[in-house]
């Protein structure tokens, strides 16, 4: 183990000219280093976005009639735009694939790296460049289009800057999103090829762990959907700089067409956000149950069908936009077909718990929290897919609550759980379980307290993207309940960062390869993994979640299990 230790990815170089320090990281083509870099970068932006979310909630503590104003009216649009652009384009869409996918996909399938390591590094640079460009752009010019960039508003808005600068911040932000898009596309291509070409010996498609399957499905969406939105965003930039009339009614254009093009990407994109987290949950649950995942094959196939059906339902965001009634009916009908594979997954997860041997470790808490939150998020999606109820709920706080439940309670809880799960493998250290459990407690309570009231608000008609609201006691009470929830949540977020930083600096060193006693391949390398992952190419002979066989291997000494320290 000494050799593995000295050549682990954290302290040895990977082919770049620089052998240590900062440069050896940002020029490294090692998938593990790239994963960690994505993680660090994302968190810096993410912190800003969380803060803004928190301030948005503060702003709604009292109605404007009371004289309460935390965010000046002119800034409100820029606030929720910055919040959502960071959360979506910089965090939750690239998040799980770029951080955990990069790090663990090659490990899970026994590969030495991704298929195109240099392209992988290029993706990271594109990401970094686009991210900085977007954030600086919004801050300097105060783009206020929301993350949906709906024309004609996005074409005509001459934004009011927070610092008084004159700056075409919308074009800037859209170009940034285009660049970010290329980063994700390249990552997607990389992962698809990695999965097709680089599985180790014996790793058939149906022997791949489920996280790899979910990354595979998500990657296809990234490759086939992102270009559509990329070019549509550039069309808006063109409209602003060189009016062609793509979406301009004064020239015979149709603003609703942009909404089609936008949602052609952005609906499938919500499955890019959720699928990898579903994959992580499919890893965490069997590990902490010490038992095979229930219905492995149907989960794998469900991942792909979610991605496929996800393409057919984009216009359910447009029931109230004035598109044809026929289209509304078709899209509503198709929307419901995405619920079926999702339901299959949920039932499979909970069935895995049956007759299991459950350890409530921190990752397990987050995984179960995911199942609960995501069920709420997904089930409220049913209200939105259904035509008449969507007409009422569209563009109200109900939608805001729906997508925070899916993206935050779902996708983000999955990612956080994944990080807690893989932390010891990534850094060879164990965080404090006490802190981690407290993190979960605050986050889960705070999250639900924050967003449940917003469902009710939405049902009573509170529109979204409102700087303030009419002075009605019902609204005020619910808004205040929700704001107080956000305070609890913020404690959770801060605790989360503390847990991780504390774990990195002071965590108990553990060279255990497999602290959770998990049956999948990525746990068989050293912790932290060595440069090219495996001392020799592993050969796979069994089902990834066959725990009986795994326990036998551990007994025989051919596989590494958890050891007492």
């Amino acid at each position: 183990m000494e050799t593995a230790n000295s050549t682990n990815y954290l302290n040895s170089h990977t082919g770049s000219r620089w052998t240590s320090g900062f440069m050896s990281w940002i020029t490294s083509t090692d998938h593990k280093r790239i994963g960690v870099m994505y993680g660090l970068t994302m968190f810096s932006f993410f912190f800003l976005a969380v803060l803004i979310g928190f301030i948005i909630k503060l702003q709604k503590f009292y109605p404007a009639a009371s004289g309460w104003e935390i965010i000046p009216v002119e800034w409100y649009g820029s606030f929720f735009t910055l919040h959502s652009v960071i959360m979506i384009f910089l965090f939750i869409v690239p998040g799980a694939p770029a951080v955990l996918g990069n790090f663990f996909l090659p490990l899970q399938i026994g590969a030495k790296d991704v298929a195109f390591p240099r392209v992988n590094l290029l993706s990271y640079w594109l990401y970094l460049f686009g991210a900085i460009m977007a954030v600086v752009g919004i801050l300097l010019g105060g783009a206020d289009t929301g993350w949906t960039f709906t024309p004609p508003y996005s074409v005509t808005t001459r934004t009011i800057s927070m610092f008084g600068t004159q700056f075409d911040s919308v074009s800037w932000m859209l170009t940034a999103a285009f660049i970010l898009g290329w980063g994700t596309i390249l990552t997607g291509i990389n992962f698809i090829i990695t999965i097709h070409r680089m599985r180790t010996k014996g790793m058939g498609y149906f022997k791949m762990p489920l996280f790899s399957w979910s990354i595979y499905a998500a990657s296809w969406i990234q490759v086939l959907a992102t270009p559509v939105v990329g070019i549509s965003l550039l069309m808006i930039v063109l409209e602003r700089m060189m009016p062609v009339g793509f979406f301009d009614p004064n020239k015979g254009g149709d603003p609703i067409l942009f909404q089609h093009l936008f949602w052609i990407y952005s609906h499938p994109a919500v499955y890019v956000m959720i699928l990898p987290s579903m994959g992580l949950v499919s890893e965490i649950i069997p590990t902490n149950s010490q038992k095979p995942i229930f219905g492995y094959k149907s989960i794998a196939i469900a991942s792909c069908s979610i991605a496929g059906v996800g393409y057919l339902i984009w216009a359910h965001h447009m029931f109230a936009s004035g598109m044809s009634d026929v289209a509304s009916i078709i899209f509503s009908f198709l929307t419901f077909f995405v619920a079926i594979p999702t339901a299959i997954k949920v039932f499979n997860w909970i069935a895995t718990l049956y007759k299991a041997s459950i350890a409530l470790t921190p990752p397990m808490l987050f995984a179960l929290g995911f199942v609960f939150n995501f069920s709420i998020g997904g089930l409220t999606g049913m209200f939105l897919g259904s035509l008449s109820t969507d007409i009422h709920l569209h563009d109200t706080d109900f939608i805001v609550a729906h997508f925070h439940y899916t993206m935050f309670g779902g996708a983000a809880f999955g990612i956080i759980g994944g990080i807690f799960h893989y932390f010891p493998k990534m850094f060879g250290k164990m965080y404090s379980h006490k802190l981690a459990n407290a993190t979960f407690g605050f986050m889960f309570t705070g999250f639900n307290a924050l967003f449940i009231p917003m469902f009710i608000l939405g049902f009573y008609g509170m529109p979204r993207r409102y700087h303030t609201y009419p002075d009605i006691p019902l609204f005020t009470n619910l808004q205040q309940a929700s704001t107080i929830g956000s305070w609890i949540l913020v404690v959770g977020v801060i605790l989360m960062f503390i847990t991780w930083i504390h774990g990195l600096l002071k965590g108990k060193k553990s060279r255990q390869e497999n602290p959770w006693n998990s049956s999948t391949l990525e746990w068989q390398t050293a912790s932290p993994p060595t440069l090219y992952n495996f001392e020799e190419d592993p050969v796979v002979t069994r089902h990834p979640y066959d725990y009986d066989a795994f326990r036998a291997e551990v007994k025989a000494g051919t596989s590494k299990g958890a050891r007492d320290e």
Binding site: H196, G252, H260, S324, V326, A327, F331
Partner: protein, 97 residues
């Protein structure tokens, strides 16, 4: 990549090229016919699809590629076709001008 055994033989590509030129001229001539909008569009687009097929299959060597390449290409085109179809489920039933 066994290269030594291949010898340079331009015949195949030239036949394909001739077919492409033929189709190009055909589509230009056909566009002169007066057969209504949908008809003309249908013909123009099917000829274009044939030409694209030839380029993809022969020039881009899909004929020599393993099955997986063909599946991928099909997937990409099916996706594009679906996007068209579903977008027109809106525009076909809505007057926009």
């Amino acid at each position: 990549m066994n290269t030594k055994e291949q010898s340079f033989n331009p015949r195949g590509p030239i036949i394909v090229f001739s077919a492409l030129i033929f189709l190009t001229i055909a589509t230009v001539l056909l566009s002169g016919l007066d057969i209504g909008n949908t008809g003309a569009l249908l013909i123009a687009m099917s000829v274009a699809a044939m030409k694209a097929g030839l380029v993809l299959y022969f020039f881009m060597h899909l004929n020599h590629e393993p099955l997986i390449f063909k599946l991928f290409v099909t997937l990409a085109f099916v996706t594009l076709a679906t996007l068209f179809l579903l977008t027109f489920s809106d525009y076909a039933f809505r007057g926009i001008a």
